[in-house]
């Protein structure tokens, strides 16, 4: 199946490691040009260098998405550099934590606002190509109780609601909007590697929740995201696609 990604311009936030990195690797492999950001200069430079090896146009900068103005300016620069934007994948997250109410402020600014600002800033460009697609990275933490009443979980839920309603709002302009909710995903330098090391009991509990006994890998999430983001996924909009290898137990009618 040809996903139709060749020549498409994709912007992905938080793309030097883990799920974000796997997404840009796969999109680049499928022939899409890539604009990416992350917090650390050297890691961005390394990612740009490595992904460029796939023969597509790759640009990247170190950006703190909490800084709204700097972030929006980066988005515009990236659109200019790529010559447009067909796919937007907001992936950066503040992560979990129940330290103080500042977790809520941080999760709101990072997870929610960066997604909203990105969608609004890029919408004119996404409309232009006629097959614009947004895939918001949410989490199964939004749909089932996990790890305590964390801001992370509630903000991911906000993103799922936002993505559905945005999809109705911009559908007439030919832009599709979806959420993908990964379950626990294991990768080197990821949260679950740290949990395995620092909280082995929690890790063992999580492993027992997968009917197939396997935690997901970033590449598996990336394949789901790439399909939905691509013209091949033309029928899918307003969906929350759960990619969790059976981690969650609810029936999703």
């Amino acid at each position: 199946m040809d996903l139709g990604l060749r020549g498409k311009k994709a912007i992905v936030t938080g793309a030097t490691k883990g799920i974000g990195r796997a997404i840009v690797e796969l999109l680049a492999q499928e022939g899409a040009d890539i604009g990416l950001c992350a917090r650390t200069e050297e890691e961005v430079a390394a990612a740009v260098r490595e992904i460029s090896g796939r023969g597509v146009h790759v640009v990247g900068e170190a950006v703190n998405v909490r800084d709204g103005e700097a972030y929006k300016a980066w988005l515009e620069r990236t659109v200019a550099a790529l010559g447009g934007c067909d796919i937007f994948i907001p992936n950066v997250s503040a992560g979990g934590g129940m330290d103080s109410e500042k977790n809520w402020v941080k999760a709101f600014e990072v997870d929610v606002l960066h997604t909203v600002r990105g969608c609004e800033t890029l919408m004119p460009h996404l409309e232009k190509g006629g097959a614009g697609s947004i895939v918001i990275i949410a989490s199964t933490n939004a749909v089932e109780t996990f790890g305590g009443p964390m801001a992370y979980n509630a903000m991911k839920a906000a993103l799922i609601t936002y993505s559905k309603q945005l999809s109705q709002f911009v559908g007439k302009k030919g832009v599709r909007v979806n959420a993908v909710s990964p379950g626990p995903i294991y990768f080197e330098g990821g949260a679950w590697e740290m949990i395995k090391g620092t909280m082995p009991k929690m890790y063992e509990w999580a492993m027992k929740q997968f009917p197939g006994g396997k935690m997901g890998a970033p590449e598996e999430v990336a394949r789901v995201v790439a399909f939905i983001a691509s013209p091949a996924g033309s029928l899918v909009t307003g969906a929350n696609v759960v990619a969790d290898n059976g981690f969650t137990k609810r029936v999703q009618f």
């Binding site: 490691k17 883990g18 917090r39 650390t40 703190n64 909490r66 503040a94 992560g95 979990g96 934590g97 330290d99 103080s100 109410e101 500042k102 977790n103 402020v105 941080k106 080197e188 330098g189 990821g190 949260a191 590697e193 740290m194 090391g197 620092t198 909280m199 082995p200």
Partner: protein, 454 residues
């Protein structure tokens, strides 16, 4: 069989950038200079030292009865007549606050028929201000002299010459130290550089938060060894790799005692930088009054940012850090006060792990956990923790110590094996080598260990 090349690739120490450390001139009191490493060779440490009854006997005669030992905390015996009974090997020692506020120590044994006067632990003589033996009611003053011997006229030989047999004691660091040595060197001489290193912490402002004794199924030295190196962190404490730097450690071996300085609040180079601040490092930030949710810097800056924060905020939190250097505000200054005190010293708390030999079995020991926490100025002084005692593995003593405890019986069992000649010690374990060298100084004297001896 794998190739030598594969072995080397799998086995190399990871590369790392050294952490920032205070320079010697930046430390108000505690010296931070690296002490030159002693030349101790690379020889094997004989496993029989951990299992032999003969060696254990030598330790008693030549070491335990010669060194200074931690006996009691002065804050535990504030009033005349307050006392602590502490045990070492077969001996039980009674440490008593005197009428003139000084402290004296005695063998805890009635001179009549040898009965123990008091049980192990804390107590007070109350109004009586005397010790009466439960057996025939021989009664002793706080200074060990006789107050009353019932029916003294029925002892034609009179009373034993001396009252309670006294042992030498002295104080430092808010603790009473005693020695069974009849001709001891002064305590200060024995402690060497330790008071200069640790006085700035002001242990007197700390309240005891744990007072636990666990009987462990290993030799006392098996336990001392476990706390004398950080090489085992990557083995049995993997969670600490997201908490401390287990490779960039400064080791200093002094004449008898030793220390290492472990950077806390930072990642080990053995693990990758995680996407969020590890929970154990968050706990350090919270302890300093920082909100991890409000921290936007890279994880690698947390250690020095915590130091800066404590330096600025300490006063307002009732915590006087003026005598400590910046590294002392985050790091573990870990000391071995020879022979048996492993100390984790921090600005806001310190832990003593005291290893005591079993009276008769080289395969057993007593592990005392004595922890103390700084009480902020103006805060109410909490009640000290009650003493508790149990056997190996009966109850949790916290994740890290449980991991150590679970490991030690297997190590001790291996010491008995015909397939194990002795300990193969690396550079990260230099303090173990030094510890055994100091033991040799006591056991074998100036002549050194004879060939073939354990």
């Amino acid at each position: 069989m794998g190739s030598e090349e594969d072995f080397n690739k799998r086995s190399q120490t990871p590369a790392y950038t050294p952490v920032r450390r205070v320079q010697p001139h930046e430390s108000p009191e505690t010296p931070t200079e690296k002490h030159p490493d002693p030349e101790l060779g690379t020889g094997m440490i004989d496993a029989r030292r951990y299992t032999s009854a003969q060696f254990m006997q030598w330790e008693w005669e030549r070491l335990w009865t010669k060194v200074w030992l931690l006996g009691a905390r002065l804050l535990d015996i504030p009033e005349p007549g307050d006392y602590v009974v502490t045990e070492i090997g077969r001996e039980s020692i009674l440490i008593v606050r005197q009428a003139d506020a000084t402290v004296r120590a005695f063998y805890n044994v009635c001179q009549h028929r040898g009965n123990r006067l008091r049980d192990c632990g804390l107590g007070t003589t109350g109004e009586a201000r005397s010790f009466t033996c439960a057996y025939h009611h021989w009664e002793y003053e706080l200074d060990g002299s006789y107050r009353r011997i019932p029916d003294i006229d029925t002892f034609p030989q009179g009373r034993p010459k001396r009252g309670l047999r006294e042992v030498a004691c002295d104080t430092w660091g808010g603790f009473v130290w005693y020695t069974l040595n009849e001709k001891p060197e002064p305590l200060r001489e024995f402690l060497g550089p330790i008071p200069k290193h640790l006085d700035p912490y002001n242990f007197d402002r700390m309240v005891q938060t744990r007072d636990i004794t666990v009987e462990w199924n290993c030799n006392w030295k098996t336990s001392v060894d476990a706390f004398n190196e950080s090489y085992h962190v990557q083995g049995i404490h993997p969670q600490l790799l997201w908490y401390l730097h287990d490779l960039d450690i400064q080791i200093d071996c002094y004449e008898r005692h030793s220390r290492y300085l472990i950077p806390f609040g930072t990642l080990s180079p053995r693990v990758r930088r995680p996407p969020s601040i590890p929970e154990p490092i968050k706990s350090i930030m919270k302890g300093a009054g920082m909100d991890p949710a409000d921290y936007d810097g890279p994880i690698g800056n947390i250690r020095t940012d915590v130091q800066k924060h404590k330096r600025v905020q300490g006063k307002a939190q009732g915590r006087d850090y003026s005598r400590l250097n910046d590294d002392q505000l985050t790091d573990d200054y870990h000391y071995l006060i020879f022979p048996n005190l492993s100390l984790n010293v921090h600005a806001d708390d310190f832990w003593i792990f005291r290893q005591r030999p079993h009276p008769s079995d080289p395969d057993r020991m007593f592990y005392d956990i004595l922890t103390y926490e700084l009480v902020p100025e103006g805060a109410e002084w909490p009640e000290r923790a009650k003493h508790r005692k149990w056997s190996h593995g009966d109850k949790s003593i916290g994740t890290v110590l449980d991991q150590d405890a679970a490991n030690l019986p297997g190590v001790q069992a291996g010491m008995h094996s015909a397939g194990f000649p002795g300990l193969w010690i690396g550079r990260q374990e230099l303090r173990i080598r030094h510890f055994h060298k100091v033991i040799d100084d006591y056991i074998y004297g100036a002549a050194g260990r004879p060939p073939g001896a354990p």
